[in-house]
Amino acid sequence: MDNANANANVYKPDLMEVVSVRQQTPDVKSLSLRFIDPERARSFSFQVGQFGIFSAFGYGESTFNICSSSNWKDRIEFCFRKVGRVTEALWKTEEHDVVGFRGPYGNGYPMDVWKGHDLVFLGGGIAMPPIRCAVWYALENRADYGEITIVYGARSVADLVYVDELDEWAKHERVRVVRCVDPGGETPDWKGEIGFVPHVFERAQVQSKDPVVLVIGPPIMIKNTLPILDKMGVTPASVYTSIENRMKCGIGKCGRCNVGPIYICKDGPVLTMEQLQQLPADY
């Protein structure tokens, strides 16, 4: 891991300049950041699916997926909903402000293992950012992966994030993007599907042999997706998710993110359904 200096203060963050701010929805923003230390910017690398501990100085730290592709060397991005003390402070940050970053932490997606497979991404609401990094990575290494299907839904049209990128992905060959909103969440000019992600996914009749599936969203969405995948013949070992238990240290010490014997910050956040089925429902 990134702990080269054995005597270093493992809690001290990197300082990062906010390069750009994007408001995604009425209560979701994404920030693009660059390392202020040029040496750190040069040496930094991560795997898509890993997370960081981001901080607003004076307010505290919060855990977010690094939602940019690991191929983008000039910046990292993360996306957050305004719900508490830290995210209220992050909400107010502007270009050239400085925030803190610790990481990368956790295991990431096994993109090498996924090579040669069709990829199915199923996301609900604010779960799009941790899917987005894997989609971009797969598109940037297009020859390594088969058909790509993305089903993404939110409560309402206004709650969909990275909408412009959904359009961009759909322009790629062998990529199918299905957008949906919960019943009642549509607008008069809504052209996507209406329904919950699992149902919309089932209706989409994805024909795929031995796909890898990444499903991230509220527990109920994941629960209702699994029987559909089972019917398609997808084994739990090929279904991945990212567990988002509350974390503080990110480095396996502070004691709160465990699901049974698994410390999510160290052995996760990416687990297969096969792994998850062996664990108690502590997430």
Partner: protein, 340 residues
Amino acid sequence: MSEIISQSGLRQLVADRIAAGTIVSGPTQVKPKLVLYAVLGSPDDLLLEGFVRPDNSIKECVFPKQEELYGYRIQGNNIELTDGLTNDDLTNDDAPVPKQLVVAARPCDAAALPILDHIFNWDFKDEFYNRRRAATTVVTLACDSHGENCFCTSVGLHPAAERGSDAMLFELGDGSYEVRCITDKGRALFDGKTEESDKVGRADAGPEKKFDPETVRAFVDQHFEDPFWSQHALTCVGCGVCAFTCPTCHCFDIVDAGPSAGNARYRTWDSCQFPMFTAHASGHNPRAGQPSRQRQRILHKFSIYPNKFGEILCTGCGNCTRNCPEGIGVLTVATEIDHG
């Protein structure tokens, strides 16, 4: 042959250390009926007999209740990280760590330190813990009695267990102690301070075994959802005193002391008994009720930690049960599981 030291000799040793600038901690009578480990201002503050054990633990010496991780200066939209604001913080990698001496620790407190070494050193190394630990010498006083909540013998320890101690003291019953040095730190501390003798100190036989930890482990591994936890949590008020007075509980939070407090990031003790401990930002909480939090504490101590590090996260001190306003603790839960 044995080495002995008189009680006045021991107090003189403490006085010398205090005078030399060492932070000396030991059991002290804080108020009637309350004995705590605390920093000793004078050797006379050291309480050596007449109590079972202090109501807190010595983990505070290596893992303070709150500890500054680093400071920062905010100037416009520029941030500068600083080593810290306080003089006794360890945020500066090169700052000398004050020497510490814990005197008259209980074996169940000393044994917690090598257990805690695992969590603070697997993969990432926690230098705050490690530097305090390296600067600390632990002199343990073998127990001469045990209380109704003590259960060290159920978790593989006993009143004369040496684990985690640099030196052990055994009462001789005549106002002096047999000294058994275990490590170089212990030998250095007592070098030239003891006399040869043919007396051999003794310790209490300890409590009878009250439960089998393997039985507890098997139960918690197989009863994640079980009415047992609800029954146990009925009277729990969720105060977290079990975790705070436990020698091995080490969960922590990281929080900012904002501008009004001088801008620094701290780690503070936390407890799995608090609802916020696992609350997601979405409002979802994997451990939404007290039963799941009670379960987590037993699960962590008897299954998760042993699976990961090969050791039970409990030394049998009994503090959780002793200090709980409702008398709930590892002892009551584990005993009920074992006697099923």
